[in-house]
Amino acid sequence: MGRRIGVLSVQGAFIEHEKRLQRLGAECVELRKHEDAMKSFDGLVLPGGESSVQGKLLRELEMFEPLKRQIEEGMPVMGTCAGLILLAAEINNDTRRHFQTLPRTVRRNAYGRQRESFCATGSFGDFTDIPMKFIRAPYIEEVGEGTEILSVVRGNIVAVRYKKQLAMSFHPELCPDDRIHEYFLKM
């Protein structure tokens, strides 16, 4: 029996995550409104997209509280790009805050505009040669106690794990490498 993963599906590249997770044997549930968020899951994916849109819709479609509660209760969660921003406790160049479950500080659009988007290869914990795509990406400026730094690229922290929360600046769902999704499914 595959694990049942909720995928936030209000805006962004959620289908890419679903396809990957389904290929790895997981069952995906699209979260679009309050009733969807009231179900229970073995994990949650917060995909890439615009965090300002996702954060707003999370609240207005009444999914914010139930999902925050589940994250705080230890449900595994993976946030990519905008998902990292949704999880961050502090965002140093934006007044908006979202779940705030991940210590501590990220910078939005940290590399600049689309011209500055780039590809890289780096390590992720014990994994080496992970392909990474940074698209108007954030990075992590400061981590809190108990946070494991998994990836550093160009001198910036770009992936961390804190308890059952996995967050990264880049997009594993866009690269033909399953290791990060497999890691998440085993969390």
């Binding site: 805006q11 615009e50 939005r108």
Partner: protein, 290 residues
């Protein structure tokens, strides 16, 4: 090309399920971001006013675009005229996130589109059918939208273009592989891109709806017809209550399959833009660029 083109297609993937709104001032841009726009399109006049004013319409003042870039944190797009690669170079120089080579502005070249492969920043282009979409993609477009008929508030052309695109994708998918050479000739599109459509049953880039979207129901209609997101031009800032209508359209795109929610979203939105029927307009923008 290579990595850069992939990254540009992927930025469009990040915009999926979202609404891109036309704005003419930093103030409107803030309202749009606040309402949940996933990107804004900076332009001097919205299409309805371009129609009303007439004359030649051009790329916007870079200073005005910069003002909008400073006002919001979401991606900022801007339009250049069809074939006007110098305007595109200027937009690239100010770090625009996406260029719309747009039939809404007066075409600068009646034969050639911009060679978009010569640019680092991404381009979105309008298309009425599959051949047109694949021609734009072969020139380097990394995102496609329906042309619709901008500035009318009439959804009929966008529906026509989306249905035609989907029908032709279905037809190409159903052909035998050895029939694709002839199909590429018929579509006037590169063979390799026709093969991609045949194998994947979709365009190689993201496809949004644009032109004539004025209500949450219009947005839901286009999403149910297969659009991956929506551009809203005149429909918001030509309506009675732009902020409320913009928010409603954003939610309608996120929950396009939920009629009860759509009903609630459609209540008390104030006046929609007046709109012009296709039989009443003199300037047909969709015929610009082929």
């Amino acid at each position: 090309m290579g990595n850069r083109y992939e990254l540009n297609k992927e930025l469009a993937q990040m915009l999926k399920g979202g609404v891109i709104m036309d704005v003419t001032t930093p103030e409107q841009a803030r309202i749009a971001e606040e309402a949940g726009a996933c990107a804004v399109m900076a332009l001097e006049r919205i299409p309805a006013d371009i129609r009303a004013v007439g004359g030649v319409s051009r790329m916007s003042d870079p200073k005005m675009i910069r003002g909008i870039q400073e006002a919001v944190s979401i991606p900022v797009m801007a339009k250049c005229r069809i074939g006007h690669f110098a305007e595109a170079q200027i937009l690239q120089a100010i770090g625009i996130d996406y260029i719309d080579e747009s039939e809404v502005l007066s075409p600068a070249d009646d034969v050639y589109h911009i060679n978009k492969k010569a640019f680092e920043v991404p381009f979105v282009c309008g298309a009425r059918d599959l051949g047109e979409a694949l021609r734009r993609i072969s020139e380097g477009a990394s995102m496609i939208r329906t042309k619709g008929e901008p500035g009318t508030g009439d959804i009929v052309q966008a529906v026509r273009h989306m249905r035609k695109m989907n029908r032709e994708i279905g037809q190409v998918s159903a052909l035998k592989k050895d029939e694709l050479y002839e199909e590429a000739k018929r579509l006037q599109a590169p063979y390799e891109l026709v093969v991609y459509v045949h194998e994947h049953h979709r365009l190689p880039v993201v496809n949004f709806a644009a032109g004539g979207v004025a209500t949450p129901a219009d947005a839901a209609l286009m999403m149910q017809l297969g659009a991956e997101g929506v551009f809203v031009g005149s429909g918001i800032f030509k309506s009675g209550n732009p902020a409320k209508r913009a928010q409603a359209i954003v939610k309608a795109v996120a929950n396009f399959n939920d009629p009860e929610l759509l009903a609630a979203l459609s209540e008390d939105l104030g006046e929609a833009m007046v709109g012009i029927n296709e039989q009443e307009i003199q300037l047909i923008m969709e015929e610009r660029g082929r």
